[in-house]
């Protein structure tokens, strides 16, 4: 039997070295795969790992891709720290986008940004309401939140599909399922950098991460509720003895996580699509779970993890464009990278021994 014993002392040396080793192993095995499939090894590696950083606009696009992942991931930190498994961020993302979008479309002529601000609030509430369903069921009836939150994803997908095909369909879209275009006041514009101009799709919504990240770090590490969440997550019995309200924590972490997913949805649709369509999320809510864990449930770690995942996706696109490497091959790369990073973390945290079972 394989046994995992937590290490008492975690060496900071290995904390730094383990991801480097993980990346090196990925590169080595990856090169071997490229070699076997007879793609040029160096250029393939360049396209996958380096090309996303090779031009300012490409770097900007990494942030565009990472933005929803990071915002959702930041929200998920609350849940996962408290050992509450919110798997339904995808659905909360969709609901946030849908609520804010429907609201924006009620005011077609608006040009002022008060509309955008209210959309953020409504998006947060929309996502939070969607997350409150598993929260209430968990608190009141002790229903497993994993199942409820996951299944509500599919409800959300069908719901936005219905809304975009029915009530909100643009009469000028010839039957195609698209809403009208958002009013000007509801659009998050691209950033016009001085002397450079626009860089890819880089938009103002991305800056919200600069506010959220330190804020959440401070909340988790320096405040009493943050402390309660951590204690509750590592030992719910201990937290009960300490007199923390179990139900309250469960409820609020889901609400905050859902709300932030909703905000991510608002930003993504407002900045990149400018209208509602049947598909607004492309698995962001699920990928963000990986991002949260890869970032070790640390807000800054989540930002870095989001960037790594986004880079891998962009690299895969570039590799196919330039060298014709199919996405399945670069997908293996992404999988290996995640596997080794998480394996490295596990080995570094736990001592692994093999013991004979009696």
């Amino acid at each position: 039997m394989i046994e995992f014993t937590p290490r008492k002392i975690q060496s900071s040396f290995w904390t730094i070295l383990s991801p480097i080793i993980s990346i090196t192993i990925t590169i080595l095995i990856g090169s071997l795969i490229f070699k076997i499939l007879s793609y040029p090894v160096i250029e393939s590696l360049y396209q996958v790992f380096v090309s996303p950083f090779s031009r300012p606009d490409r770097i900007a696009d990494i942030f565009v891709k990472a933005c929803p992942l990071i915002i959702i991931g930041l929200g998920l930190i609350f849940c996962f720290k408290a050992n509450i498994w919110n798997i339904g961020a995808e659905g909360q993302f969709i609901l946030g986008a849908l609520c804010a979008g429907s609201f924006a479309l009620l005011f077609p002529e608006t040009k002022t940004y008060t509309l955008l601000i209210s959309m953020f609030l409504i998006g947060f509430v929309g996502g939070a309401i969607w997350a409150s369903i598993p929260a209430i069921l968990k608190v009141r009836l002790n229903v497993n939140e994993i199942l409820v939150s996951l299944m509500l994803v599919y409800v959300a997908m069908l719901f936005i599909d219905f809304i975009v095909r029915g009530p909100l369909r643009d009469p000028m879209s010839f039957g195609f399922p698209l809403s009208k275009v958002y009013p000007d006041g509801a659009i998050i514009s691209k950033v016009d950098f001085p002397f450079i101009g626009f860089l890819g799709q880089f938009h103002y919504g991305i800056f919200i991460i600069l506010i959220l990240c330190p804020l959440i770090w401070f909340f988790i590490n320096k405040t009493l509720p943050g402390f309660q969440i951590k204690i509750f997550g590592s030992s719910s019995r201990a937290s009960e003895f300490a007199g923390f309200n179990k139900n309250k924590i469960t409820f609020y972490v889901l609400l905050v996580s859902g709300g932030l997913s909703g905000v991510a949805g608002v930003i993504e649709v407002s900045a990149n699509m400018g209208r509602l369509q049947p598909e607004v999320s492309f698995g962001y809510g699920f990928t963000a779970i990986i991002v949260a864990f890869l970032g070790r449930l640390n807000p800054y770690g989540v930002v870095i993890a989001g960037i790594i995942i986004a880079t891998a996706k962009l690299g895969a696109d570039n590799a196919q464009m330039v060298l014709g490497i199919p996405k399945v091959v670069t997908g293996i790369f992404e999988g290996m990278l995640l596997f080794f990073l998480l394996a490295g973390e596990t080995i570094q945290k736990y001592k692994i021994s093999i013991r004979k079972t009696n």
Binding site: F53, G175, F176, N272, Q277, E279, F282, G324
Partner: protein
């Protein structure tokens, strides 16, 4: 730690990048954006076959880049822009959802030509290509009407949009031209590509007594179910005979190759334009059997006299003698659309939100 790592990588990349982007500009650079992978054996595969025809036609005179599995959102904008930045002179974006991303990027690259497949907006450097898929469905209707024993046809639709509905109605017209007793029942799969859902819909149709199946979704799943259950059916987008040798009657094949070749030739000659068709939203180019943009695969699993009638219908549409939507036309709840002697025009086809006689049920609203 990570920050330094990123810095080093960025620095290195800036050093190396000039050496890696020395592509030959003498060739025509052509880009393709695919919604799924060619492995879908349907919509995207048909575009892949078109791409291969381009390669065969121009050989080393073209340099083709493709990107597959591009979701219809911000990723599409990024990928299309990237293709334009890498010097592709003509970019084919092969799904409806790429319309806005294509237009967005086209504005930034006025010298690059964009070809969007099946949308309704275009500009000076964005052309739209579309196929009259419904023409093949009329022939399918003829064959179905002659082959059915139960007089029940099962039809699997993707979404209740005009394009799909005009296909169902064309099928009904073909069906009723040879068999007034047969009816079509429609199941909406609410997806373009989901083999599991498509297979489920096919099973339901068969359980309800349908012996001929038709589809407006992309995977071969329906035909595989038909094959297992002794039913017959029609392939979609590409020849799916390999998946159902005993069940496929024929397939309507989307033949994008000639269109791609024509547009690339125009570009090479400096004569590229947004098309020669009527300038309404269905596409600058909306080609069908007559322009070979739609072809039919070999007729199989049917007696020769049925095949002959199918061929006759095909030839009639191709030559323009057979008008599919010629009056008198009535909806399935008895409303008259047009009287005898008139024919629906293209614009009316795109406004279809009703079923013609021969289809059961109502269009979902």
């Amino acid at each position: 730690m990570y920050k330094n790592f990123l810095k080093i990588i960025t620095f290195l990349s800036i050093l190396v990048s000039p050496f890696l982007f020395t592509s030959a500009y003498a060739k025509t650079k052509v880009g393709f954006v695919y919604l799924t992978t060619p492995g879908d054996h349907g919509w995207t595969y048909a575009h892949e076959l078109g791409k291969q025809m381009v390669k065969k036609e121009f050989g080393n005179d073209v340099d083709i880049s493709i990107v597959e599995n591009v979701p219809e959102g911000p990723d599409a904008t990024r990928v299309i822009r990237e293709l334009a930045k890498q010097g592709n002179q003509i970019i084919f974006t092969t799904s409806f959802g790429y319309m806005e991303p294509t237009l967005k990027v086209a504005k930034e690259f006025p010298n690059v030509k964009f070809e969007h497949m099946t949308g309704y907006k275009r500009t000076k450097n964005v052309a739209t290509g579309n196929i009259r898929f419904y023409e093949g469905r009329y022939v399918q209707g003829v064959v179905a009407g002659l082959m059915t024993k139960t007089n029940k046809i099962g039809y699997i639709g993707a979404y209740p949009i005009s394009e799909v509905i005009m296909g169902i109605n064309a099928f009904a017209q073909g069906l009723r031209s040879v068999n007034k007793k047969a009816t079509i029942s429609v199941i909406w799969a609410n997806t373009w590509y989901d083999p599991v859902k498509e297979a489920d819909a096919a099973k339901v149709h068969i359980a309800e007594g349908a012996d001929i199946l038709a589809q407006h979704t992309d995977s071969p799943a329906m035909l595989q179910i038909a094959e297992k259950n002794g039913a017959l059916g029609f392939g979609q987008s590409t020849d799916m005979g390999a998946f159902a040798p005993k069940a496929q009657l024929f397939a309507s094949v989307n033949n994008w190759g000639p269109y791609y070749i024509k547009k690339i030739k125009q570009l090479k000659d400096g004569k590229w334009n947004t098309g020669d068709g009527p300038d309404h939203w269905a596409g600058n180019t909306w080609g069908g059997l007559s322009t070979n943009m739609l072809t039919l695969s070999n007729f199989s699993n049917m007696p020769t006299d049925v095949a002959k009638k199918a061929q006759a219908a095909h030839d009639g549409i191709k030559s323009g003698k057979l008008k599919i939507f010629a009056g008198p036309l009535k909806t399935n709840d008895g409303k008259e659309i047009i009287g005898a002697g008139k024919t629906l025009d293209d614009g009316a086809l795109w406004g279809m939100n009703y079923y013609l006689e021969g289809v059961t049920g109502k269009v979902p609203k």
